[in-house]
């Protein structure tokens, strides 16, 4: 079988080939379509939804997070969705926040993403006004955040993050998860620094590292995420914040798409400045 626990991010070609051969033999010629999908190239990891991956023997997950959750407004900020209080920000990040605050006091926005259809990214997609859904599979937890129809994939099949040079830098990053008791610990790296904000007015960069400790309350109706975030380019030390969510049994997610040309018709659009 493939060795996903190797600290090396490049798997042995021989081991992969042997594993594929073994799987082909296992599934036999009647599974030609399945076999076709297993023609892995060098360094490729079995997909999270590959039958062979899903069928691998592994310990049952201690908690099933599958469900729909609404963000619970708590905390010290005006609407609870941000990660206040801020840690001590690096000078450039503080200057950016100051500029944004000054614009806002005059009724303007400065480089705001939402009204111009730029992605929120992690962690903000976890704390917006719309629900999040968790779909838990043996190999990954899929998180659907309604805001701009976001999808997060948290791989729990034992794979490591890709090697740094293989990481595409994105707004949601690359997430892997493991269990510590009944807590799912999610580790996310690989973020872009292009208009990516960790919290309102605070940029996140390529060094951003987000750890989320996700757990369910005893009644299984309250989801809790303890965020610990570091980004030495933008703030000093660990930025910690805990968010809670309430299970919703009578809610589903609707399509949510931000269309630039339509946003441009709205009154708020022209007050969002880029200089």
């Amino acid at each position: 079988m493939l060795n996903f626990s190797s600290s090396s991010t490049r798997y042995s070609t021989r081991a992969t080939a042997a594993a594929i051969f073994g799987l082909l033999t296992l599934f036999g010629s009647s599974h030609t379509q399945n076999a076709h999908a297993q023609n892995a190239k060098e360094g490729e990891t079995l997909g999270a939804l590959a039958k062979a991956n899903l069928a691998k023997p592994r310990a049952a997950a201690p908690v099933d997070f599958t469900g729909t959750y609404n963000f619970k407004v708590e905390g010290t900020d005006a609407n609870g969705h941000e990660f206040l209080p801020h840690p001590k920000l690096a000078p450039a990040a503080q200057a950016f926040l100051d500029k944004k605050t000054a614009y806002r006091a005059k009724g303007f926005e400065y480089l705001e993403n939402a009204g111009t259809c730029w992605p929120y990214g992690v962690p903000q997609i976890m704390t917006r006004y719309w629900p999040v859904q968790f779909i838990q599979l043996p190999t990954m937890v899929v998180v659907l955040s309604m805001v701009t129809s976001n999808v997060r994939r948290i791989y729990t099949d034992g794979r490591p993050h890709p090697a740094d040079e293989d990481l595409a830098l994105t707004y949601n990053g690359h997430s892997i998860g493991h269990w510590e008791g009944k807590t799912l610990v999610v580790d996310t790296v690989g973020f872009t620094d292009v208009r990516h904000y960790v919290s309102d007015g605070v940029p996140g960069g390529e060094q951003l590292h987000v750890v989320e400790r996700i757990s369910l309350g005893a009644d299984e109706n309250t989801l809790q995420i303890e965020f610990t975030m570091t980004d030495p380019a933008n703030w000093i030390g660990e930025w910690r914040n805990t968010k809670r969510y309430t299970r919703e049994e009578y809610t589903d997610i609707q399509e949510h798409v931000c269309i630039y040309e339509e946003e441009a018709k709205l009154p708020a659009f022209k007050n969002n400045l880029s200089k």
Partner: protein, 151 residues
Amino acid sequence: MGNRRHAGVGTGYARRTRLFACLSAAMLLNCGAAAWAHHSFAMFDLQKPVEVKGTVKEFRFGNPHSWIILSVKDKAGKVMDYPIETNGSFYLAKRQGWKRDSLKFGDVIVARVHPMRDGSPGGDLIAATLSDGRKLIARVEAPPVPSGEKK
């Protein structure tokens, strides 16, 4: 979704200012949270709601925003577009009972909005009243706060 044909000219442009109830940060939470969700609210004047009468030219029922383009007359009688944004269909339907056809092309409405702070046409919808008296609520408006009392 909605009807995007051009409508006839609106029936006038009424603008009156009322004392607005949201005085404290805690109250703003109730008033503004929904629209805040997608983008900042900094450009809207939360203290001075106004009422705008016009004819529905476009209505979009969707997420992240629903929105209305009203045809209104300015003080000089010139017809202009008055864009109004409001909550996404998700919350309008779930919490306020709106339907996809709650507003139709040609409907004459009075829209109560938080106007743009810079005075340009446009605002954030609080509620719309149709000519038959039906009232479509977009957000729960906070009850008046007795003077001198702040939470």
